[in-house]
């Protein structure tokens, strides 16, 4: 059974239909890249998975449990449990500016109270080492570069041991020379078989790291395929036009 199963998902803002009957699934250990023009509904889809948006109709099933089934949401406690299996990384980082890097990482695990402080601290330093920021534990986010902030944000999401990581344009707010360090961390995660869904404009990353590319336009999934096929032999006219404009 797939780790994420989405069927007939519909979502409108007012009378604007933003997602029109989306159906797709993601297997464990898959890395999915979602690409598409601005306003096509990529962020809304990602945000719906983790309940930052409420959908109008359809189903979202995570790891065998329905977050929402035929438009009916699960109970509040269930929702918390289900969305707790996912972590999310935002374009604008959304680090807590009044907390140091270390405090950003430790806040949620500390409040969850399932581990001792010592264990939390140890994992905190392990993860900071992993994203190459051991020396920044006591820095405040305001004193970090964009690339460093995003790596902290990834480490913070990893602190909760998520089964799935969602990325919404993680490198779009970064200067070009800083995207590499973030993509590198994401690539490492992919190699460790973290299940990831990445909304991105980085065609190179999509082609190199993703197992599957999903192309969205106008609130619909137009085409999905493995990267080689997708980039070299796009089937749909709209895909071709998009790739022509955004990838050479």
């Amino acid at each position: 059974m797939a780790l994420i199963e989405v069927s007939n998902l519909k979502k409108s803002f007012g009378n604007q239909e933003v997602l029109k009957s989306i159906t797709f699934s993601v297997d464990r250990k898959e890395v999915i890249a979602i690409i598409g023009p601005s306003g096509s509904g990529k962020s809304t889809l990602l945000r719906s998975l983790i309940h930052l948006e409420e959908i109008d109709d359809g189903s979202i099933c995570i790891d065998g449990e329905y977050l929402v089934k035929d438009g009916q949401y699960a109970k509040q406690t269930e929702i918390r449990k289900i969305t707790g299996k996912m972590g999310m990384v935002f374009q604008q980082f959304n680090l807590f500016p009044h907390l140091t890097v270390k405090e950003n990482l430790m806040l949620a695990p500390k409040l969850r109270k399932t581990e001792s402080l010592g264990e939390i601290e140890k994992r905190c330093y392990d993860l900071l080492r992993k994203v190459g920021l051991s020396d920044k534990a006591d820095a405040y986010p305001n004193n970090l570069s964009g690339g460093q902030k995003q790596r902290v944000a990834i480490a913070r999401a990893l602190m909760l041991n998520p089964e799935i990581l969602l990325f919404d344009e993680p490198t779009s707010a970064l200067d070009p020379e800083l995207t590499g360090e973030v993509l590198k961390v994401m690539k490492d995660l992919a190699e460790e078989h973290m299940t990831m869904i990445v909304v991105t404009h980085e065609m190179g990353f999509a082609r190199e790291v993703a197992n599957r590319v999903i192309f969205m336009d106008g609130g619909e999934i137009i085409e999905e395929n493995e990267p080689e096929q997708f980039f070299l032999h796009p089937q749909h006219e709209r895909t071709k036009a998009f790739l022509h404009k955004n990838w050479k």
């Binding site: 930052l52 969305t83 935002f90 604008q92 959304n94 807590f96 009044h98 409040l111 969850r112 999401a157």
Partner: protein
């Protein structure tokens, strides 16, 4: 010289104690009350929100002096209940100041809340924080930090507003200065009063600058 000290300066310093006392009482009560007002304004229960907004509009839209006169001299004149509304003058003044300043602090805190990006709430939510944890651990610390310069400003205004006690005949710094001017036939007490006010506002300024540096998050 000793005589000068005893007759003029010492009474003024005693008067300044009243000023300082009022200042601390008002700050300690109006900040929490202001914060509660902010919460009321933000409340999803609309009547409460409207009431709080009306309150803030009235308190900020009318002179503090008018409010003080009303509480000190107006309330006791109300038929039937008036006789139960006669407070000690100083207590009445405190009530007036607290009610008024709470409205200003409420607006300051509301501004602080508005400045917090919605990404902060979203990050807290995807990290599994409850509403309460989000409020106390993520939102409020940032709100108070953003509000700090405005709170500093308001506090300095309060020091100077304490001079309004003069109008409701509570003996404070300005009252003793005026008495001395009348009795000694010299304007020196005015300058002494000015220096004392200046000293108090300077101390506050330094204190708030320190707070701002301490919580700079850099």
């Amino acid at each position: 010289m000793v005589d000068y000290w005893n007759r003029i300066i010492w009474p003024m310093i005693e008067g300044a104690q009243m000023t300082v006392l009022l200042f601390f009482i008002v700050i300690l009560l109006s900040i929490p009350l202001g914060f509660l007002l902010t919460l009321a304004v933000k409340s999803r229960f609309k009547p409460l929100s409207w009431l709080a907004q009306l309150y803030i509009t009235v308190m900020r839209g009318t002179p503090l002096l008018l409010q003080l006169l009303l509480i000190c001299f107006g309330l006791p004149m109300i038929p039937v209940v008036g006789e139960y509304l006669v407070f000690d003058r100083f207590v009445a003044a405190c009530i007036g100041f607290v009610l008024n300043y709470a409205a200003y602090f409420a607006e300051i805190f509301r501004g602080g809340l508005l400045s917090i990006d919605k990404g902060q709430y979203e990050a807290a939510k995807v990290l599994g924080l409850t509403k309460w944890q989000t409020t106390t651990r993520v939102i409020l610390p940032q709100m108070f930090r953003v509000a700090l310069p405005a709170v500093a400003n308001e506090s300095i205004t309060l020091v100077k507003d304490t001079a309004l006690l003069y109008a409701v005949a509570v003996p404070e710094l300005l009252h003793f200065a005026q008495t001395a001017v009348n009795r000694e036939f010299t304007i020196v007490p005015y300058f002494i009063a000015g220096v004392i006010y200046l000293a108090m506002t300077l101390i506050l300024t330094v204190f708030f600058k320190w707070l701002e540096r301490r919580y700079k998050y850099e």
